[in-house]
C-alpha cells in the first residue's frame, strides 16, 4: 500500500507537469465545447457555401440541427479524435519508463511489478475519467445554452457507455505499452490492437459481445433503438476487459528483463 500511494502521488505530480497529459485534458475540454458549436454552425456554413457565387445552381439540403445532432457530434469526436489523443498521450506510459531506465530504479526499491502497473492503470483511468466527465459536463452546459435543453432520455447511459469505451481503450493502450520496449513499438501495437478489435467486432458472432461496440451504442440508446440485452453484453466485457488488461500486462511485465 505504501508503494502504491507513493507511485500514485508521483503520477499525480507528473499529470500536473507533463505537457502531454495537460494537452490531453485540453483536447477533452476543446471537444466538449467545440462539438455543440460545430453541430449548430455546420448547416449555416453549408448554406453560406451554397449561396456563394461559384456554387450557384447547386442545391444543398441541410436539415436544421436537433438535439441528436449535438450528441452525434460529441460522440463522434470522442470515439475518433479523443481515441487518437488518448493513444498518443499514454502509449509511452510503461515502455518509455522501461526504455529510459526510470522503471528499473523504482523496481530496485522493493516495489513489485504488479504494484508499479496498478499505479499506472489507476492514474491513467482516473485522468481519462476526470477529463471525460469535465468534457461531457461542458458539452451539456454549452448545448443547453445553444439549443435550450441538453439532458434527454438516455443521456447518462449514453455518456457512461462512451466513458467505459474510453477506459477500455486506455487499458488496451497500457497493455500495448507494457508489452513493448519502445514508444514506437507500443504505438504500432496499440493501433494494431484497436484496428484488430474493430475488424473482429464486425463479425456477427462477436459483435454483440465486443467492447468496441460501446462506441456505437450511445447513439442507439439516445434514439431509443438499443435493447437492454444489446447494451449489457459489451458493458460486461468492457468492464471485465480492464482488469484482464492489467493482469495480462502484469503477466508480461513479470517476465520481462529490464
Amino acid at each position: 500500500m505504501r508503494h502504491l500511494s507513493a507511485l500514485l502521488e508521483k503520477e499525480w505530480m507528473e499529470t500536473l507537469r507533463d505537457a502531454k497529459r495537460l494537452v490531453l485534458v485540453a483536447v477533452f475540454v476543446f471537444v466538449g465545447l467545440l462539438s455543440p458549436l460545430m453541430a449548430k454552425l455546420t448547416p449555416e456554413l453549408f448554406s453560406l457555401i451554397a449561396d456563394s457565387p461559384g456554387m450557384s445552381g447547386i442545391r444543398m439540403s441541410i436539415p436544421e440541427p436537433d438535439i441528436f445532432t449535438y450528441y452525434e457530434q460529441f460522440l463522434k469526436n470522442m470515439s475518433q479524435m479523443i481515441l487518437f489523443a488518448v493513444m498518443l498521450a499514454f502509449m509511452g506510459s510503461v515502455s518509455q519508463e522501461k526504455a529510459e531506465g526510470t522503471a528499473s530504479l523504482v523496481l530496485t526499491k522493493g516495489v513489485s511489478r504488479i504494484v508499479f502497473l496498478t499505479a499506472k492503470f489507476l492514474s491513467v483511468l482516473t485522468i481519462i475519467s476526470a477529463a471525460y466527465w469535465l468534457s461531457a459536463i461542458l458539452f451539456l452546459l454549452y448545448t443547453s445554452l445553444l439549443y435550450g435543453t441538453s439532458v434527454i432520455a438516455g443521456t447518462w447511459a449514453a455518456l457512461s457507455l462512451m466513458w467505459l469505451y474510453l477506459l477500455f481503450v486506455s487499458a488496451l493502450v497500457l497493455l500495448a505499452s507494457t508489452f513493448s520496449r519502445s514508444i514506437g513499438m507500443s504505438a504500432l501495437l496499440a493501433f494494431g490492437l484497436v484496428f484488430f478489435l474493430m475488424a473482429v467486432s464486425a463479425l456477427p458472432v462477436l459483435r454483440d459481445w465486443s467492447p468496441m461496440s460501446l462506441s456505437a451504442l450511445p447513439s442507439r440508446i439516445l434514439q431509443g433503438l438499443a435493447t437492454f440485452r444489446q447494451i449489457i453484453r459489451p458493458v460486461i466485457t468492457g468492464i471485465l476487459s480492464i482488469p484482464v488488461c492489467l493482469l495480462l500486462s502484469s503477466w508480461s511485465f513479470s517476465r520481462q528483463e529490464l
Binding site: 505504501r2 508503494h3 500511494s5 507513493a6 507511485l7 502521488e9 508521483k10 505530480m13 507528473e14 507537469r17 507533463d18 529510459e100 531506465g101 526510470t102 528499473s104 530504479l105 523504482v106 523496481l107 530496485t108 526499491k109 522493493g110 516495489v111 513489485s112 511489478r113 513479470s254 517476465r255 528483463e257 529490464l258
Partner: protein, 307 residues
C-alpha cells in the same frame, strides 16, 4: 556474515555466455571492487543481483536470504546505482529523493532530514533545477544519493564514477570509504585507480569468467613483478650498471629510465636483493635508492586478463 553470495551464477544470451558459473562471496563491511574490461559481464551480474534480469542458472543470496527474479522481496536492503542513471526529468532532486524515501518506507519527518543529508554528501545541496537539465555527472551524484538514502546494508554501484571529473571521482571514492563503516559496498568499474584507492577485495571478470578473486595484498604478492629499481647519480653510471647486469643469467629486461634509474627483472627477488648491491659495489657506484617494485592493479589486471 556474508552480505552477498553468488553461487554458480550464469547468464546466457542465446549462444553467448555473458556470465559463466560465477561464485562470489562478499563479506559484510567490505568494499569489494568488481573489475573487468568493457563487455566482461559486470553490469549483467549487477542487474541479476538487483532482479532486473533473470539468471539462466545459479543462486543469489542477499544478507543470507535467497532472492528471485521479478520478486521484490529481499531487495529492500540494497541501494543500487545503475551505470547510466535516469530519473523523471520533470522532478527536482529533492522531489526524487522524497519519492524514493517513500518507496523505502522512511517516516516523513526523518525523510526530510535524510534527503538534506544525502544531498549535502553528494554535493547537490544547492541544486534546485529540474533533473532534465542535469549533466551526466550530476545525475550520477543524484544516483548515488538515492542509493544511499535508506542507509542500505548492501550498496551496489555500477561504474559510480564513470561520468565524473577527477574531483568528482575523488569525492565519490571518499563517500564510498565513509559509508563502508555501516554498509557493504560492491562496485564495478574499469578505472583501476578507483579500486586501488578504496577496495579491500577485488574480483576480475573477463568474458563472463571470474579470473581472479582475492584481497589486494594477496594479489600483489601473487602477481609480484620481481623487478628492482636502482637509482644512481648519473646517466653514465646507469649505463655502466646496465652493461654489467646484461651478463648475468638471473637478470632480464634491463632498461634505463629517467637517465639515472636502472630497472631490472630478476628470476627471484632474493637473488636480486643480494646480487645487485654486490655488482654496484664492485663497480664502485653509489646507490641512491634501491627498491623492489610492487605490481600496480593495472599490472595485475593485464596479467590476469591475458592469462
Amino acid at each position: 556474515m556474508t552480505a552477498l553470495e553468488l553461487t554458480s551464477l550464469q547468464k546466457n544470451y542465446e549462444s553467448v555466455q555473458a556470465v559463466c558459473n560465477l561464485h562470489l562471496s562478499i563479506p559484510e563491511g567490505s568494499i569489494y571492487g568488481f573489475l573487468g574490461p568493457n563487455g566482461a559481464g559486470k553490469t549483467t551480474t549487477l542487474r541479476m543481483i538487483t532482479g532486473l534480469i533473470k539468471p539462466t542458472a545459479g543462486e543469489i543470496r542477499i544478507c543470507g536470504r535467497p532472492v528471485a527474479f521479478g520478486n521484490a522481496k529481499g531487495r529492500e536492503s540494497i541501494g543500487y546505482l545503475p551505470d547510466v542513471p535516469n530519473f523523471y526529468p520533470w522532478m527536482k532532486p529533492q522531489e526524487y529523493l522524497m519519492f524514493s524515501g517513500k518507496l523505502y518506507g522512511i517516516p516523513h519527518r526523518q525523510l526530510k532530514t535524510q534527503v538534506s543529508e544525502v544531498l549535502e554528501t553528494v554535493g547537490l545541496a544547492k541544486a534546485k533545477r529540474s533533473i532534465g537539465s542535469y549533466s551526466r555527472g550530476m545525475k550520477q551524484r543524484l544516483g548515488i544519493a538515492q542509493a544511499l538514502l535508506h542507509k542500505p546494508k548492501l550498496l551496489l554501484l555500477d561504474e559510480p564514477a564513470s561520468a565524473l571529473d577527477p574531483i568528482g571521482r575523488k569525492d565519490v571514492m571518499e563517500i564510498i570509504k565513509r559509508v563502508s563503516s555501516s554498509t557493504t559496498v560492491f562496485f564495478s568499474t574499469h578505472i583501476l585507480t578507483d579500486i586501488e584507492r578504496v577496495c579491500d577485495r577485488v574480483a576480475i571478470l573477463n568474458g563472463g569468467v571470474l579470473v581472479v578473486e582475492d584481497n589486494m595484498d594477496a594479489l600483489k604478492r601473487k602477481y609480484a613483478l620481481n623487478q628492482w629499481r636502482i637509482r644512481v647519480d648519473s646517466h653514465q653510471q646507469a649505463m655502466r650498471l646496465s652493461d654489467a647486469l646484461q651478463g648475468e643469467a638471473w637478470a632480464s629486461r634491463i632498461r634505463i629510465e629517467q637517465d639515472v634509474e636502472v630497472l631490472v627483472s630478476v628470476s627471484d627477488k632474493e637473488t636480486g636483493s643480494y646480487r645487485i648491491p654486490k655488482i654496484v659495489s664492485d663497480l664502485g657506484l653509489p646507490i641512491n635508492a634501491m627498491e623492489l617494485l610492487a605490481p600496480t592493479l593495472e599490472d595485475i589486471f593485464v596479467k590476469a586478463v591475458r592469462s
